[in-house]
């Protein structure tokens, strides 16, 4: 097939897709975000409400499930696209609001802007997402269509120019794809930032006939969900990226390794693969050329270590997911002993964009060493939790204060944790660090897969370090002594510190052990596991000291170092809320009618403090755990 026929075949396909999408857009559309985050917030109920209301009114409108638009703080949310009006996004939906939107907007002509978050198209009436500070900093590449496109229909993807890159690439030599990716300096988004082009080239040069392309969707970071969102919301983008990679390196079989904990991602990807096969975009002789490539989904059994390349391959071969020493690298000897390219979900997702828009377009965003964008899941003590995509080089301060809209209720920023269990905690003074692979590494954190947790004065850094270490210790595969035993001992030491045991020497020992574990482990799990400890020791040493020297937890978190106390002057005789809230009957009424806590029974569950009405606010935490002596005597 010659070049012209190939491109024509694609153009016809695109035209057909566009027409079917256009026909759909002639009536009103309600797009409901039903990614995992939306579902958790009740998106299915909202969908039912919309369908019911629309039916009752006998309206011509279609309700479509879409993926994640990234504004998780406002879930459940929906976008209403009515012909003649700008598409408008509404958040925090409930039955009443749905009723009103259907009645006023779909049936009437009032877009109810007072409930709208933003418009999606430029217009004269209502601001768009780009008009907010977040929109100014955000630049969407791989998330461009997430949450706006119908993931169940390949036509939506094609009508937006999907698979155009594939048609373009197939009309050129495989070398064209490789050159563009190399020229774009696309660095692996799995965390380490290894140039994808180099990896592909090495695989290509290994000359064997049988080669594999594997997509790493084993996103195991607790608190990160970027890969899941991309797979759920725009699966074809990843699939197209993998086909392009396969074309470049000469592979005919690929696998998407997806966590079993992401059932919706698995489901959406499987459906997308099926539709791509039907369209002749996947399988044998793609788009009529003699290039063939097929994809399968492999469900991971759930082990954090399987995010490591060699461990992932081992687990695909039916073994325990233990890493191997490299070399041989996967591009030399990978899955079934054959050359294998393994990249992260996001890395593949950039490829179609680079091929269709060119390497220069990609490089025009971000920094020279780390071009392109970075995707973060923004969580913790921040107003706008959700999924954000910003150019590399944006500072952490911009990301937190502008894009994330700062901390809620005027809370004070304390630290930001980047990169999950392998990353580090950075303090206020590091906020002007630009986000790119190298700068973050220098500051002691890593880019990681992109989890970003904001912490405030109520978060104890020792406890946070302990939390991450508990996670890595549990997930350590047990191969290397330093990682297996070292992390265990580190965890023991940290646990002691949270109990106020130990002294300054303990802290020295912890630091020493951290460095040993870092140096003595084979894979990145062990090598980076001490990062949360090392960075908190470096930036928050005073907090560690307060624990061991004073038996005090400054953030009032470590439960062995605090007690709950009801301040008599603030407590009211007329209120009994705390008594009922206590699960262990530790709260009693004193002779004077005020309440007090029996410290022997108290399990420090925080119920009473939450239950105490705001106007009294009488329950407080004290650290070190010593009752104010005089007042307690009065109580008796």
């Amino acid at each position: 097939m010659n070049k012209t026929d190939l491109l024509k075949r694609y153009e016809d396909m695109k035209e057909e897709a566009r027409q079917s999408i256009q026909a759909r857009q002639e009536k009103s559309l309600v797009l409901i975000g039903t990614a995992t985050c939306g579902l958790a917030a009740g998106a299915m109920q909202v969908k039912e409400d919309f369908i019911r209301e629309i039916e009752t009114k006998g309206l011509e409108a279609e309700v479509i499930e879409v993926g994640c638009i990234g504004h998780c703080y406002a879930e459940p949310l929906a976008i209403i696209a009515k012909p003649g009006y700008p598409a408008v996004c509404y958040g925090n939906l409930d039955e009443g609001l749905v009723h009103r939107l259907v009645e006023d907007f779909l049936a009437g002509d009032d877009p109810s802007y007072e409930y709208a978050m933003a418009a999606l198209d430029r217009n004269d009436e209502f601001p768009t997402f780009e008009d907010f500070p977040r929109g100014v900093y955000e630049e969407k590449m791989i998330l461009e269509h997430c949450g706006l496109t119908d993931f169940k229909k390949i036509e939506s993807y094609i009508a937006n120019g999907g698979y155009e890159a594939l048609a373009k690439a197939l009309s050129e030599d495989p070398g064209f794809v490789l050159e563009e990716v190399k020229e774009a300096n696309l660095r692996g988004r799995g965390g380490a930032g290894f140039p994808a082009g180099k990896k592909w080239e090495a695989c290509l040069n290994n000359g064997e006939n049988e080669k594999y392309v594997i997509c790493n969707g084993d996103e195991g970071d607790p608190g990160a969900f970027m890969d899941r969102s991309v797979l759920e919301s725009d699966p074809h983008l990843v699939i197209e990226g993998m086909i392009l990679c396969a074309y470049a390196v000469g592979s005919h079989q690929g696998y998407l390794y997806i966590r079993a904990e992401y059932p919706r991602a698995v489901e959406h990807v499987r459906e997308a693969i099926k539709q791509a096969r039907e369209k002749g975009l996947l399988g044998s002789s793609i788009l009529g050329t003699d290039f063939s490539f097929d994809l399968e989904v492999f469900q991971g059994s759930g082990a954090f270590i399987c995010g490591e390349a060699t461990a992932l391959v081992n687990s695909m071969e039916g073994k325990m997911g233990m890493p191997e020493s490299r070399p041989p690298r996967l591009v030399e000897q990978g899955f079934r002993g054959k050359p294998t390219v393994l990249n992260n979900v996001k890395t593949f997702a950039y490829v179609p964009l680079i091929i269709s828009r060119g390497a220069d377009w990609f490089k025009s965003t971000g920094t020279s060493e780390s071009p392109g964008t970075a995707v973060f899941s923004l969580v913790g003590k921040i107003n706008n939790t959700g999924l954000v995509e910003v150019p590399m080089g944006t500072t952490l301060r911009q990301l937190i204060e502008e894009v994330g809209d700062g901390l809620p209720n005027g809370r004070e920023f304390k630290a930001v944790q980047i990169g999950g269990p392998s990353g580090g905690c950075l303090p206020e003074s590091s906020l002007d660090v630009p986000i790119d692979f190298d700068s973050l590494h220098e500051a002691g954190a890593i880019m990681g897969s992109g989890g970003l947790v904001v912490m405030d004065q109520d978060d104890c850094m020792v406890s946070v370090a302990r939390y991450f270490l508990e996670f890595t210790q549990h997930e350590s595969c047990g191969k290397c002594t330093f990682c297996r035993l070292g992390t265990k001992h580190m965890l023991d030491i940290l646990t002691d510190i949270t109990r106020g045991e130990g002294d300054l020497e303990t802290l020295e020992l912890l630091k020493e052990l951290s460095e040993d574990v870092r140096d003595g482990s084979l894979c990145n799990l062990g090598r980076t596991a001490p990062n949360p400890v090392l960075t908190t020791l470096r930036y928050f040493y005073d907090e560690y000291r307060a624990h061991v020297e004073e038996g005090r937890c400054p953030a009032l978190v470590c439960r062995d170092l605090i007690l709950y106390y009801i301040k008599p002057p603030k407590c009211s005789k007329l209120c009994n809320v705390c008594v009922g809230s206590c699960p262990t009957e530790a709260i009693y009424t004193r002779e004077d009618g005020l309440k007090a806590i029996d410290q022997d029974k108290c399990v420090k569950c925080d119920n009473c403090r939450k239950a105490c009405p705001d106007e009294y606010d009488a329950v407080i935490k004290l650290s070190p755990p010593e009752l104010p002596a005089e007042k307690e005597r009065k109580a008796k």
């Binding site: 998780c72 879930e75 970071d221 608190g223 039916g318 809230s581």
Partner: protein, 182 residues
């Protein structure tokens, strides 16, 4: 480890036999076989793992090794009501551990255990993926956001109300169902 109920042994043996019959007996098939058996039984009883080891001619230690290495496999039967407490970063920061402890106290079991009457099972999971709702608990596949200890009590009331048999009966089925630690 919970004791088997009456008739359960036969059920396990039949299931393992069926799954082994459907798969070629190679070491490579160990994970798929374990996955299929777990899908049918809801968990991997010791007996099943022993039989699988025999059937595939691999050391029982290898089977235990895999089953304990991967988080997907569970060694306790699921309770009638499964509660999963998320302890991802965001949930931990907002008090997920307190929520977990509240469940442990109310159910009188520890995480990754099943109550002797098999009414409840309690697990911790790494991240459900809806961090903006932290702390999150998944009750029988239904996600509950912002779960405080007070809400735990509410959830427990709902689950307690769903006991079989006459109201007021404190424990589950008498015959063979109640069991002690192995």
């Amino acid at each position: 480890m919970l004791q088997l109920k009456e008739g359960e042994k036969e059920e396990i043996l039949a299931c393992v036999k069926e799954v082994l019959g459907e798969n070629s007996k190679t070491h490579e098939n160990l994970i798929p076989v374990l996955q299929q058996v777990q899908k049918k039984l809801g968990y991997l009883p010791v007996l099943a793992m022993e039989k699988i080891a025999e059937g595939l001619d691999v050391p029982a230690a290898d089977v235990f090794g895999l089953a304990t290495f991967y988080n997907q496999f569970r060694l306790n039967p699921p309770g009638k009501h499964e509660v999963k407490v998320c302890l991802g970063t965001a949930c931990y920061m907002t008090g997920g551990d307190i929520t977990l402890e509240s469940f442990e106290r109310r159910m009188e079991i520890k995480e990754s255990e099943t109550s002797p009457d098999r009414h409840y099972s309690l697990e911790r999971v790494a991240c459900v993926g809806c961090c903006s709702l932290a702390p999150v608990v998944v009750v029988d596949d239904q996600v509950e956001g912002k779960v405080t200890p007070t809400r735990v009590d509410g959830i427990m009331l709902e689950l307690e109300a769903d006991r079989d048999g006459p109201a007021g009966e404190e424990s589950g089925p008498k015959e063979g169902g109640n069991s002690e630690q192995d």
